[in-house]
Symmetry: C2
């Protein structure tokens, strides 16, 4: 990969790493810190649930910061915050950097938060260098990415992209109520309460975006395991969630011969094991995270088991094939475990296609990563510190990509662990990722001029 | 098998089948009927929980019935009711027929109840025929066989046999409290409340038994499947109950490569499937009836699974071998599923050795079954309607057998289903089993004379 000679070397425009990390930790300290796990002041997790008082406070703080940089702020009907810094030409849509400031109830300081504050740091860097971009460049904080308090993940980017109806999102009721004993609230009630129910439609038609770049922690172990520092994300796996119910017959565990049983639990256990083989062969993922048994007594053969399948693959057709294979295998197991067969019912809980980011956006990130990593001191010759990779998880960028060119940048995640208080990305990696973000955005911006 | 020429043909002494069935259904109707499942008046199940008001009422009724037959009634400290009819010689211990009148909360009309009322019918038959047995013959109703309300199965026969300390049984607290909103009661409180806390020690030393015969429904499908009508029970499987905990690590189901997972649920599912193979090879039973997952979220790899193993085999050494093999296999699976291994912890919940009834008692039952079945009209020549078999479940007789010669008689159970309201044994089979019980008891009684 060679940097286009038409591009200036954006790596000369340096972000302020200390400022980035101070901003990240001071805002986490003030707005939602929880779950201390170490003695260092920064060693807490977060419980900044979407649209709670801490989310309100950090939103007000963000609006203040971007306003101070001269950005124009728009709040849409889903509380998404768009902050746009003018460029040389302003009759084009902005290139946006976006992620989310909300967290899981036992979340960490990096998932989502890093992406928004990295975007802020890029805007600050452009501002203090008085750097004129070709077109407008901005930052977006997407509401309720986590789906933890309001159980609909990547909710507001989904509304913006037209994938989720506004009314459905507004009507979504919290599952983790505030502890003040009040009635569970809807998204719309809480948007109104915290003053972030804007009047601009939450839609790609009303708020155009030219391109969207998202810096995010990997949330997996690949970069760390490979000793690499930047993931150039080419897309995200699709996922399908199913609830499989196996109906057998309860009977006495001591008196019922194996041949006379309809053991729903044994059949379901074999199905879980078999689904893992299907996933391995297809180089995809199938995970069972829930497994509920009736009646659930030591000496009673189970009559009913309901378990979930989380099926993922980078290619939609392979995901479909995996599910089809599971259906065949499960039916075979149900027959094997009982001559007369057991009922096996499938219910689809969620379904999302795989995301493929456009090559031009991926190339902007890749070019930027190559230059930024290439300048790192002490890197052995020929050691490549970045790699193309897929996202295993869904992100706001997956929705946004349906409406404008999008790409993502991943940074290493200690132990591959996220959604946990001690989720961690080193300061060096946070800074490196932010510098790559800056380079990708400015490359895209520079390119659109021509 | 040839009936000893020294034995009179006890089958000439006929029990009254209509009276037996009327007694069974009328007492079920009056004392604890619940869970109607059909339109016939007898088509309900039972909820006669140990020491509740219905159990009290049926006990008072039973005492009245046996007293009317001239029996001497003794209530021991566990509320066991012993009713003894005098014989020609009365300085020897009685031959007892015993089972239990309590049921599961969603129990049926036959499990336990049939055995006690069959014993009553035998006593009534002896009485109306003015039949003089060699020694005393009697009936015992064992308290809390089910362990449903007070969670300790075959409780009071266990105390009688010296296997369960009296104080532990007395202190046992109900898990299914009465619905009057009162504090959960102990066994002793409830014995006192219903007037069945006797002052005779609950012990084989205070209440001697010469031999013990129990008629019981099979609770399994073997007799029905084989088209046979009487099970001559030679013993009962031992059982061991374990709780196995697998500790992995929770992680994101979309971002964690299979190779980096510590998926406790996948490992546990494979263990359940593997334990079934161990059981099949050893011709024993291993059943998993509980399977609890943490955290139990669709898209989170499970960090912890706790599941139970109910391990049974007619031979103790084979049961021990099965458990040992499971331990090895589970450890191997834990290693296969994660390079660094997952923790696997075993906790013993209960352990009972296999029961082997003495051959002389088994022969009494077998002789009786052969004669009784041989007289049935319309039985094809050479068709054997009884079989020796093992009990899969535990019974009061397993405790009693430790202190006196014991055997059991099984009758067919529709679909092998018990502990359910529509548990069913046909009138013909109830009557046949009772007639076999009479023959076995009188054979044992006649034999001890010589």
């Amino acid at each position: 990969m060679v940097v286009s000679i038409n591009h200036p070397d954006f790596a000369a425009l340096r972000i302020n790493g200390a400022r980035l990390m101070n901003t990240l930790h001071s805002t986490c300290d003030q707005f939602g810190a929880a779950h201390r796990y170490g003695s260092d002041p920064t060693e807490t997790g977060m419980a900044r649930l979407s649209l709670n008082d801490d989310d309100k406070a950090v939103r007000l703080w963000l609006v203040e910061q971007v306003t101070a940089l001269g950005c124009k702020v728009t709040i849409d009907q889903m509380g998404n915050i768009f902050a746009v810094r003018a460029g040389k030409i302003n009759d084009v849509a902005p290139v946006m950097m976006g992620s989310h400031l909300d967290t899981q109830p036992t979340g960490g300081r990096y998932d989502g938060i890093l992406g928004v504050l990295a975007g802020l740091e890029v805007l600050r860097t452009l501002h203090e260098n008085d750097y004129a971009t070709e077109g407008p460049v901005g930052l977006v904080n997407w509401t309720n990415e986590e789906g933890a308090r309001f159980p609909m993940i990547t909710m507001a980017s989904g509304v913006w992209a037209g994938s989720i109806p506004l009314e459905a999102a507004w009507a979504c009721v919290e599952v983790t109520p505030l502890t003040d004993g009040s009635e569970p609230k809807t998204v719309k009630q809480e948007l109104e309460r915290i003053g972030f129910l804007g009047d601009v439609p939450a839609s790609y038609k009303a708020n155009l975006i030219a391109a969207h770049f998202e810096l995010h922690i990997e949330q997996g172990p690949i970069l760390e395991d490979e000793g690499q520092r930047i993931g150039v994300v080419t897309g995200a796996q699709g996922y399908s969630w199913y609830e499989v119910t196996v109906i057998g017959r309860d009977s006495h565990a001591g008196t019922t011969p194996l041949s006379a049983r309809k053991d729903a639990l044994l059949a379901a256990a074999r199905m879980v094991a078999a689904s893992n083989h299907v996933a391995r062969r297809a180089k995809g993922f199938i995970t069972t995270g829930r497994f509920d048994v009736e009646p659930g007594s030591v000496n009673t053969v189970a009559k009913k088991v309901t378990f979930t399948l989380d099926v993922r693959h980078p290619e939609n057709s392979s995901k479909v094939d995996m599910v089809a294979e599971c259906r065949v295998v499960f039916d075979r197991i149900a027959k094997e475990e009982c001559r007369s067969g057991m009922e096996v019912h499938w219910k689809t809980l969620a379904e999302t296609d795989a995301t493929v980011f456009p090559e031009n956006c991926i190339r902007m990130v890749e070019d930027s990563a190559e230059v930024v990593c290439g300048r790192l001191k002490g890197t052995p010759q020929g050691r490549k510190l970045w790699r193309r990779m897929l996202s295993g998880a869904g992100h706001d960028s997956c929705h946004v990509n349906k409406r404008c060119p999008t790409a993502m940048i991943f940074t290493p995640t200690r132990g591959g662990m996220s959604h946990t208080p001690d989720e961690y990305c080193s300061p060096g990696d946070c800074v490196l990722g932010t510098q790559v973000l800056l380079g990708a955005v400015l490359r895209y911006d520079a390119n659109r001029k021509r």
